[in-house]
Symmetry: C2
Subunit: 70 residues, 2 copies
């Protein structure tokens, strides 16, 4: 449930920036297929990778989770 | 850095509740030595385990990170 909500929020944020999964993954130095599976809610992502994604959206981790509503 | 800040916040929250690491770990169903290493900032903790800890403090993940200032 948490993974699904988090993934959904990432998808919305990324689309709002007009970036493809590939472009965003490249921007943050993450494997594209891994990033896609995070958006799909299929990954029990680690804190370091959460940090990478938050940095990619230029926000804090707490802001990212606040948006994710989890 | 993120791991250290997160661990420090957990330690403060736990101590405010007057619980030992052992009691808190037991409460959330987490191995005591694993929990201790998270507080020490030594673990790249996963989202599911972050959720367990947030639940243990009866707060949302976003509140937990807001307190952690990360």
């Amino acid at each position: 449930m948490v993974q699904k909500k988090f993934g959904q929020a990432l998808k919305e944020l990324r689309e709002k920036e007009g970036l493809s999964q590939e472009k965003f993954a490249l921007k943050i130095g993450m494997d594209r297929t891994y990033y896609a599976s995070v958006e799909a809610g299929k990954r029990n992502i680690s804190l370091q990778n959460i940090k990478k994604i938050a940095d990619g959206f230029e926000m804090s981790i707490s802001e990212l989770f606040s948006i994710s509503k989890i």
